[in-house]
Subunit: 203 residues, 2 copies
Amino acid sequence: MIRNISTSEVLYETGREGAAWRVVSGSVRLDRKTPEGDAGFASLAIRGDIIGAETMLFGAYSFTATALSPCTLTSWPEREGSPAPAGDLLKTLIFAERRAAEVIALRYGQAAERVKRLVMLLAAPGADCAGSVHVPLQVTLPPRQDMADITALTLETVSRMVSGLRRSGVLSPTTDNGAVSGNRFSLGSGKIDYLFDTQESLR
Amino acid sequence: MIRNISTSEVLYETGREGAAWRVVSGSVRLDRKTPEGDAGFASLAIRGDIIGAETMLFGAYSFTATALSPCTLTSWPEREGSPAPAGDLLKTLIFAERRAAEVIALRYGQAAERVKRLVMLLAAPGADCAGSVHVPLQVTLPPRQDMADITALTLETVSRMVSGLRRSGVLSPTTDNGAVSGNRFSLGSGKIDYLFDTQESLR
DNA sequence: CGCATTTTTGATACACGTCAATCTCCGTGG
DNA sequence: CCACGGAGATTGACGTGTATCAAAAATGCG
C-alpha cells in the first residue's frame, strides 16, 4: 500500500490504530504528546526510515507523525499481514540508532552549523544512488517552525540562517518549469564552508 | 556473562569486535567518532537498555561506550550464541526510540530544566520496582563534563544548575556508612518545581 | 601531606531569544 | 483584473541566558 502526503499533513496520531510505514521520499517529524498538551519534537525520519514500528507490539502509535515535505510512504513490512523477520528488525534498530545520533547532533553547536547540518541531512541522497553522477543535490525545506523545533532554535533564528546560506551560495533557488518554487533549493556544488557567526554578519 | 564497570571507564570502542549488552544498573554514554577526531555524544543508555546491538549485524561496534556511573552489564541476548528472537528485537527497537526522544528532549529548554530532567532520568526507577514503597530515589551524578555533553551545555553551567538543585532542595547529599560520597544524592520527596532562571538567582 | 584533577564560583561578552514591523505568497471574492 | 485578507517568512532592535575566561576551592590519590 502506498500513501502520498503533502507538507504539514498529519500521517497518524498518538494512540490511533494503524501499521508501520517506510518513508520512500520526503521527510517526517515525530512528536510525542507532552502532559502540557504541546507536542514535543521526538524524532526525524527521512528516506529509508521505518516509522510506527511500535504498532507491531501495541497496535497503536506512540507518536504523532507529520510530513515536513511532500512525501510518499509504503506499508512495512513489504508483505502485509506477515510479521517482520528478525533480520529486518535488527537493521531497522541499527538505522534508528544512527538516525537518533544525527538528530541529537542537530541540537549542538552554533545556529548556523545546526541549520546547515539539517539541510544537508534532508538533502542526503539515498544509499541506492551512491556513486552516481555528480549532480547537485536538491532539498525541499520544511516550514521554518518545524526546522526550529528540530534544531531547538527559534523560527526567526532559523530564517536568518537560511538567508545566510542563500547569501553565501550554499543554497540557491531552483526553477521548476520556469517558476521558482518557494522552498525548493539546490545545494551549491562548491562545498562552501563559510560560517557566519552573528546575526549582524549575515547582512 | 556479567561485567562491572566503574565511572568513566570505557566499555568498548568503535570498530572493536564484541557482542551486545544489557545495562542492568548505572548509566552509559555512547559516542560516535567524528572525522575531526573528537567524540560526539550520540546516545544515553540507562537501566534496561540494550547497547551494542549493531554487532549482531556488523560484528563490530558502531559507537564507543563509556560508563557515566558505576554500572553492571549482562550479555544480551540471555542465551549466548543463539540469535535474539524477533519479539525481543522489536521491544528493543521501541525502547530505543523512546529513549532517543527523551535524550533529544534533554537538549531543549532552559539550562535549569534540562539538568533537572537529566537528573530525573538517571534517577528513574526501573519498571521492575513500579508501585513499590515510597522511598526517596537516589542518583549517582556523572562527571559534570559528561552531563554537559548530554545536555549541550557547558561544564560550568551544569555545575551552577546542580548547585541550584541542591540549594532548592531537589538534591540532597547522601551518607554511605557515615561518609558523604561526592556525587551520590537523594531526590527531595517534595516535588520542588522551583525554577531558577538566571545565574544570579542561584545564589 | 602534597600534587593532579574535578568542581565551584565569579566577572564579562556575545549569540540567540523575544517582540514587533514589514514583506511575500496565494487564494478568494467583488 | 485587482482589492482584500490571512499565513508564513523575513528583517530589525533590544534584552538576556549562557558561553567564555579566569581563579579559587574541593576532592581524590599516591
